[in-house]
Amino acid sequence: MKRLPRERAAAAALALLLGAAFQARAQADPPTTPPAKAGGDERLELPPPPFTEGIFPCSGCHADRKPDPTRRVLKDMHDDIQLRHDEQHRWCLDCHDANDRDLLHLASGEKVPFERSYLLCGQCHGEKLRDWRAGVHGKRTGEWRSDGQKRYLLCAHCHNPHQPRFRSIEPKPAPLRPERPGAHTASAGTSTNPGGRP
């Protein structure tokens, strides 16, 4: 395998952390990236796609391989990916470009880089794409002014493209029930710290 340039590795590692965080346990803290601007896609600046570490560029392995367009369940590589995203009707090469694995492709055949994967998602999820562009779908951080700096995320930052449905997560603790004074058994209060923790 080709050695990855250090900058790319760092970016991928950062994105991986974020991706893992969003996919496994939804957490706070947006990536500190250049702000995105409203308007046309050309001006949309987004954090890099959340690749699994070491996986990109795909051409690293696939440049020498002949694409096999047969629909099948993969056994040699990528068997860790369980497709649960309309898997009755689609498989890998319906999104990944067969000839250039560093790109995705739309139904029309038009190639799309991973940095703009939302165009691919938007083919089927057009309404979500519209909402996402308006800032209504998905996590948004930054400034509330419509011309302010806003941080957008790629679809893939929250949704695993192969299994987009969110897993359930553990909720943070429920609020404490109100208690009469002196009823606190676990941490009894003193006269200077009623109901207080020791």
Partner: protein, 290 residues
């Protein structure tokens, strides 16, 4: 008997002049509620507060008194088709706004409701604690101050310690509130909270960037509530709950800006407000994005 039949008109005049001057002096120089304080005095008050807080918490604390931006009216929208009830907003708010940890105060309460029953407060559960959320057959409705256009709370305050700012945020003057809790009885959303004891915010967890009408540490015996993170929103940023929500269910913006997310939601989504029949006209909308 002495002759006390001075010209009564002169006596009356002197008496009322004295009374009027006394009243004027006292009113002009006496303590005032924030609503009426001239800006010079306000600056001094703010400086004093900063000194007190910095001493108490052992680190520099700033108290901003940023006024409302003209031509802005804040509104909030929450996507109940997305909220999973994870409560990260509740705790992000607690950190950002220096909410008392002990006794515990939460400005946001997330209610678990039955899909069968719909939005029904009588059968809502704020204390759910399953292993995982969202739970089958349930949906989640976080409730905090709705920043109503027609607030029942500001109407009833006997001393005028709470009012609606020009940008739409309903605020409390913590130094004027007498703690009668009439506003808490009046609020239909359980959004107002009282400091029953001295609030307990650990020093190392204090957020030192505060606002006079927002997240500055409150004293005992006064009412507090969500202020749309006034310290952030008046500086142009989203509230903490908006930024922390992992599913992007929370949206915030300027109702008067046609390009804002809020206006987009109002135009394109199915929107509802809570307890609409009470005519509080909340500025907190709930919607279904799907």
């Amino acid at each position: 008997m002495s002759d006390d039949r001075q010209p009564s008109s002169r006596r009356r005049f002197l008496g009322s002049a004295a009374g009027a001057s006394a009243a004027f002096i006292v009113t002009a120089c006496g303590p005032k509620r924030l609503f009426e304080v001239p800006s010079e005095r306000l600056r001094k008050q703010v400086a004093e507060l900063e000194r007190d807080y910095s001493t108490k918490y052992g680190r520099p604390v700033t108290v901003a008194d940023t006024p409302a931006r003209p031509g802005v009216r804040f509104a909030y929208a929450l996507d109940i088709s997305r909220c999973i009830g994870c409560r990260r907003c509740v705790y992000a708010c607690a950190e950002e706004n220096n909410l008392s940890r002990d006794p515990q105060i939460h400005w946001i309460r997330v209610l678990q409701m039955d899909k069968e029953k719909g939005v029904d407060f009588a059968h809502a559960d704020g204390y759910y604690q399953p292993k995982e959320v969202p739970q089958e057959g349930h949906f989640y409705v976080p409730v905090s101050c709705q920043q109503c256009e027609n607030p029942p709370c500001t109407k009833v305050c006997p001393v005028g310690a709470t009012w609606k700012e020009p940008d739409g945020i309903v605020v409390v003057d913590y130094d004027w509130c007498i703690g009668c809790r009439y506003c808490m009885a009046a609020c239909p959303y359980g959004a107002r909270h009282f400091n029953w004891a001295e609030p307990g915010v650990p020093r190392d967890q204090l957020n030192p960037a505060t606002h006079l009408l927002g997240n500055r540490p409150r004293p005992k015996g006064v009412v507090e509530k969500c202020t749309f993170c006034i310290q952030r929103t008046r500086a142009g940023r989203y509230p903490a709950c908006v930024e922390v929500c992992p599913v992007g269910a929370r949206k915030f913006g300027d109702l008067l800006d046609p390009q804002s997310e809020i206006r987009y939601i109002l135009e394109h989504k199915r929107v509802l407000v809570l307890k609409e029949d009470l005519n509080t006209v909340p500025r907190f909308f709930y919607f279904y994005a799907t």
